[in-house]
């Protein structure tokens, strides 16, 4: 039984999203006796040591073979298992993309594909391990549900929700150890339903993953300049909570923020949603710049991409001043 206390949410934050997933995984066999977890040689990175110790018969290491993993998962899902499969986000979307689109998208296999270390979190290993485009890829595959939890508490909630969800899902885990906490207690998490965390009439910020916390910090900085921001946690990129997006139409500026390429991810999804709306605020899309960086520390890379809270606030301010002019 999971307890959502200050101490536990703090512990999860220190573990990071993979560790939080591993902890949540311990609850899965009780939720569904058919649960099986596959990993492409990343069971330790996935935080699954305790799961392996307690449920060795439910954990299958497929080795460094992501393509095989997705289809093995599909074979098992067809035979009645609820399957989670874990690998790095970039390999999930690029290396095994064909298997994902055919087995998960086309055949709608009940697989929850967990993309570890999405965005820049293992950017120290270089561009091959930065998942820049996984949201763009996954949301363009029909029948995929795409979920990007804001913090480690939300990662736990999303994992448990995934176990109850029927159908193919991509679960995108961002951040590193000491992942900032947005949710310090239990909260209602429903796939497809965005969460409004802060209200403000001037600017609406829609963020996902790690950028939710950054958005909240940026909103606090902007408040010091008497600029009031709404902040929305858009944890489900697909299906996008279009109603929540359309509630922001009264703002003078709409901002989307993601630890993902500015092209094709949350920003694109929101823009598509509003494309036919005649009167809407301009949209500032913040995200990773469309280039490959040399490997570097996570926080350094965030700064290079303008994704620290301070930089986000400055970008928003600059756009806002242009809008008002």
């Amino acid at each position: 039984m999971i307890a959502y206390t200050r101490a536990s949410t703090r512990a999860w934050s220190m573990l990071g999203s993979s560790g939080a997933f591993g902890l949540a995984a311990m609850e899965l066999p009780e939720l569904d006796s058919s649960v099986a977890i596959l990993s492409a040689d990343l069971s330790f990175f996935s935080g699954l040591d305790r799961f392996r110790a307690k449920y060795p018969e439910r954990l299958f290491n497929i080795g460094i073979a992501e393509q095989n993993m997705v289809c093995v998962a599909a074979g098992m899902a067809k035979e009645g298992h609820k399957v989670f499969a874990t690998t790095y986000a970039t390999f999930a979307s690029a290396r095994s993309c064909d298997q994902v689109r055919v087995s998960m998208g086309y055949m709608q296999s009940d697989i929850k594909l967990v993309g570890l270390a999405a965005g820049l979190s293992v950017g120290i290993l270089g561009p091959t391990h930065m998942s820049i485009e996984d949201l763009a890829v996954m949301r363009a595959i029909p029948n995929m549900t795409v979920v990007s939890p804001a913090d480690c508490t939300a990662t736990v909630k999303a994992t448990l929700a995934a176990a109850k969800h029927k159908g193919p899902m991509y679960l995108r885990l961002t951040g590193v150890q000491n992942n900032p906490t947005v949710y310090q207690a239990d909260f209602e998490f429903t796939i497809g339903k965005a969460i409004r965390l802060r209200d403000g009439d001037d600017i609406a910020i829609i963020a996902t993953g790690t950028m939710v916390h950054a958005a909240l910090e940026a909103a606090t900085l902007l408040a010091e300049r008497q600029i009031a921001c709404t902040v929305i946690d858009m944890h489900t990129i697909k299906p996008l909570d279009e109603a929540a997006v359309k509630e922001t139409l009264g703002a003078k500026l709409l901002v989307t923020i993601e630890e993902h390429n500015k092209k094709g991810g949350l920003g694109g999804a929101v823009a598509e949603c509003l494309a036919l709306v005649p009167r809407k605020p301009p949209q500032l899309v913040l995200g990773m710049t469309d280039e490959f960086y040399h490997g570097a520390d996570y926080h350094y890379l965030l700064e290079k991409n303008g994704l620290t809270a301070r930089q986000i606030a400055e970008s928003i301010l600059a756009s806002y001043e242009q809008v008002l002019a």
Partner: protein, 319 residues
Amino acid sequence: MHDVTAAAIREPVRARGPGSEPRGFDAARCRAAARQIRRYVMQMSLTAGPHGAHAGGALSMVEILSVLYLEVMRYDVKNPLWEQRDRFILSKGHGSPSLYAALCLAGFLDEKELATFKANETRLYGHPSMNPSMGIEFSSGSLGHGLSLGVGSALALKIRGNAASRVFVVLGDGELNEGSVWEAAMSAAHFGLPNLVAIVDRNGMQYDGFTEPVMNTGDLAAKWRSFGWMVREVDGHDVSAVHDALTAPTAGSGQSGGAAPLAIIARTIRGKGVSFMENARVWHHSRLTQAMYDQAMAELDASAETAATPIDRGGSRRP
């Protein structure tokens, strides 16, 4: 649709499921079924018209399918997801015309539906689309996935103690270029899956011609053995040999201490049964004209089983 002669099969074998009686292997019946499958493939290819058809690769695996669906596999057309069924996965999905023909003989499809092959509102696509009521376990077409799907299925069956059901995966030899196949092969031996059978339709050809100059796959038997599989090599057009390979006991120990998965390397001829298609590069996929069709059907009619033994309807199979 060209009329089928009296010697051909009219009624499919309905079920070889629960309650069916054991019956000995009937080679003549298999050969007759193989010939009928070839006829159906030609009919579908003609119907496809300008869309063309993957006739060559469909024809090379006909005996494999006739033996599997008439003599080896257990299934129940009235209960297509019957837990005790054997699973069939066509990893070389472009061989779909033969699969549809075999499913027709098995009773999953009506003969009339074969005429809808590649039509706009059909269920019979150029590549198989997952549909349990039709007996199609998984969609295929993107090469290199099927053996992995088979590993997952066989693994799940093993986990829940279903030792009776087997998983048969037919792959092309060109398909073995795909690295993902070898990921699957490695994992099958690792997990110890004696219920998994890979059948390589080794017709020695792929889209760009013969496999050897395109991408030489070398000694396939040695490769599969080195991956921990038991290997049997057969003439893929000899129904008795194919039957023996599929049914002979597989006692032996794999690398996990359990029995090893089985790889059958079936030497075949791409386009087998139609002279102008055999080993012809273009017949990976090409358009069948009426004249070609007439010639093909004449050759099939003239083939050895002209006085064919009618297929014994009744769905009797070993339980």
